[in-house]
């Protein structure tokens, strides 16, 4: 594992909101085949970090390398086309479109140009079939024709996952995918991510410690914008600083 080149590398990343250091000299990496979990208390800067990797926030300094290439100057859309897939902490879908059409948009993006003006998408088997396949993968096939706004919270999370997978990403950024899923949903998703890691490495932000400890190959702990510890599940479990700062009273 250790000798394979990382797919994502963050070097000395910094981002402040006024006087608040939301990202304070963060360096971490994600290697092929692994789930790297990022944990930390509320407001630690986890989402801020994800936003910078995805390109929706510009860091004040530092380096973001994806597949060995510096992607700092690229837009969100360009990073996605390079293979950076993501889900949002608060689900982000096209609310007026059906679940199917939402996923079809991802498929369309991977097929290249969206500047095709005349062929109706619903008659395009290459879009519909590929999208249906991804919906089945996340167990949402029966809900394909339901408008996204009418899906339940959990279903919308599944939909987002299908949309991210349809992009054939080389890395997935997941911001609290378990949030609000309920115990049953979390368990299913944990199982799903466990199999997914073989296809695509994941940077996983998650509060659900049970899920994190069972899934993560490595864990980094973020507190007040800086990484106070990074290591295997056991290392993090037994780390004094982490217990004090974060896991603290729990066990």
């Amino acid at each position: 594992m250790a000798e394979t080149a990382p797919i994502l590398e963050l070097r000395e990343l910094r981002k402040s909101f006024g006087a608040l250091k939301a990202t304070d000299d963060v360096s971490l990496d994600v290697r092929p085949g692994e789930i790297h979990a990022l944990i930390g208390p509320n407001g630690a800067g986890k989402s801020t970090l994800i936003h910078q990797v995805a390109g929706s926030l510009t860091p004040d300094g530092g380096e973001i390398r994806f597949n060995g290439e510096d992607i700092s100057g690229l837009t969100v859309a360009q990073r996605v086309r390079l293979g950076l897939g993501r889900t949002f902490q608060v689900s982000s879908v096209a609310p007026e479109f059906s679940a199917l059409r939402n996923v079809m948009l991802s498929v369309q993006s991977t097929q290249g140009s969206s500047f095709r003006f005349f062929k109706p998408v619903m008659h395009d088997a290459s879009l519909v079939d590929a999208a249906m396949e991804k919906l089945s993968l996340v167990d949402l096939a029966e809900r394909a024709d339901v408008v996204a706004a009418e899906l339940s919270h959990g279903e919308r999370r599944q939909l987002e996952m299908a949309m991210a997978l349809a992009l054939n990403p080389k890395l997935l950024l997941l911001d609290e995918p378990m949030a609000g899923m309920g115990p049953e949903g979390s368990k299913n998703l944990t199982g799903f991510l466990d199999t997914l890691r073989h296809e695509v490495p994941i940077l996983l932000v998650e509060h659900d410690m049970e899920a994190v400890f069972s899934l993560a190959d490595r864990i980094s702990v973020l507190v007040y914008g800086s990484v106070i510890a990074s290591g295997s599940v056991d290392e993090i479990r037994t780390n004094r600083d982490v217990r004090e700062a974060y896991l603290g009273e729990e066990d």
Partner: protein
């Protein structure tokens, strides 16, 4: 057939029937009225692409309407006077061929929309509304202060421009030209809406962050939609100049931008045939209420307020119910 499809057909056939009924009744004036509806609806169909599908609230579409009008007026004037537009670096003469004039109107509107869009589409919300308005007003004042083509007084087209094999001076034939152009643009709009581009454009309105997270840059999609939208409104402007045989800066004024927006909102934002329903109601009100009271726009205002406040989907929303999505 969905209820909306039935209503669309009724609107299309209804408009087509008016001039023929008018002819039978010996009331040729109504042919002109129907032609006006067709042309103004076309201007609205253009705006509807930007506003309805893409969520770009352009308050500057009069710029394209007017540019299309001036394309027709200027080319026709030069053809009439047999003076070239310019002689260097190559000779360009005027024309009274509608097809050529349309092409010029479309290209001119598209190029100007591209330049305006490059700047305006970096903003959104109220700023976008204000910037599109500002650009349109710039062109308006330019037209007023440019004496070569009539300045404030405008420009007359002495003989309506010609169409191969047709007599454009015959009101029915001119109506049919406008009608076919309208239907063609409606067809193009329908195909655009259902295409890959249309899918991306609609998501650019619903959730631009999602579109970007899907690997499609919202700016590029919006820009192209804005250009196509402007081209259709520009084409409508060229027809409007030919209908009135006159073009003046008033075609470029913000009132016109407002009216085009009213057609779209009244008819139902994002509904394919919304602009036709809206323009038809507008013209009918202008004609009948305008005959009863000078203050017809006051009543139009009340209707508009009701539509915006109580019936989200405009006329088509009332008649055909909520929009259905594939």
């Amino acid at each position: 057939m969905s209820r909306e499809t039935v209503i669309n057909w009724a609107l299309a056939l209804g408009l087509l029937a008016v001039p023929f009924l008018a002819l039978m009744q010996g009331e040729p004036f109504y042919i002109t009225l129907a032609t006006r509806v067709a042309i103004l609806a076309l201007a609205g169909v253009g705006l509807n692409l930007a506003l309805g599908l893409g969520g770009m609230v352009s308050f500057g579409h009069a710029a394209f309407f007017g540019l299309g009008g001036y394309a027709a007026g200027i080319l026709a004037t030069h053809a009439f006077n047999q003076e070239p537009l310019f002689a260097w670096p190559f000779m360009v003469s005027g024309s009274n061929d509608m097809l050529l004039i349309w092409l010029v109107a479309i290209v001119l509107s598209a190029v100007v929309a591209f330049l305006i869009g490059l700047i305006a589409l970096r903003t959104s919300g109220v700023y976008f509304i204000m910037i599109t308005l500002a650009f349109a007003q710039m062109i308006y004042y330019f037209a007023i202060s440019w004496p070569a083509y009539g300045g404030e007084d405008g420009l007359s087209i002495y003989v309506r421009n010609g169409f191969p094999e047709l007599n454009t001076l015959d009101p029915i034939q001119f109506f049919l030209i406008c009608y076919v152009v309208l239907m063609a643009c409606l067809f193009i709009s329908a195909r655009l809406r259902d295409s890959r581009f249309g899918a991306a454009l609609q998501v650019a309105r619903q959730n631009p962050e999602r579109l970007a997270a899907t690997g499609i840059a919202p700016f590029n999609i919006r820009l192209v939609a804005f250009v196509i939208s402007a081209a259709m409104t520009g084409l409508a402007g060229a027809l409007f100049a030919d209908l009135n045989r006159f073009v003046s800066p008033s075609m470029l004024s913000w009132h016109v931008s407002g009216e085009i927006m009213i057609f779209v909102i009244l008819g139902g934002v994002g509904r394919l045939f919304g602009p036709l329903a809206g323009a038809a109601l507008f013209i009918v009100m202008e004609f009948y209420l305008g005959g009863i009271t000078e203050h017809w726009q006051f009543f139009l205002g009340i209707i508009l307020l009701c539509v915006v406040l109580f019936v989200r989907g405009g006329i088509l929303g009332i008649l055909a119910g909520r929009r259905v999505h594939g």
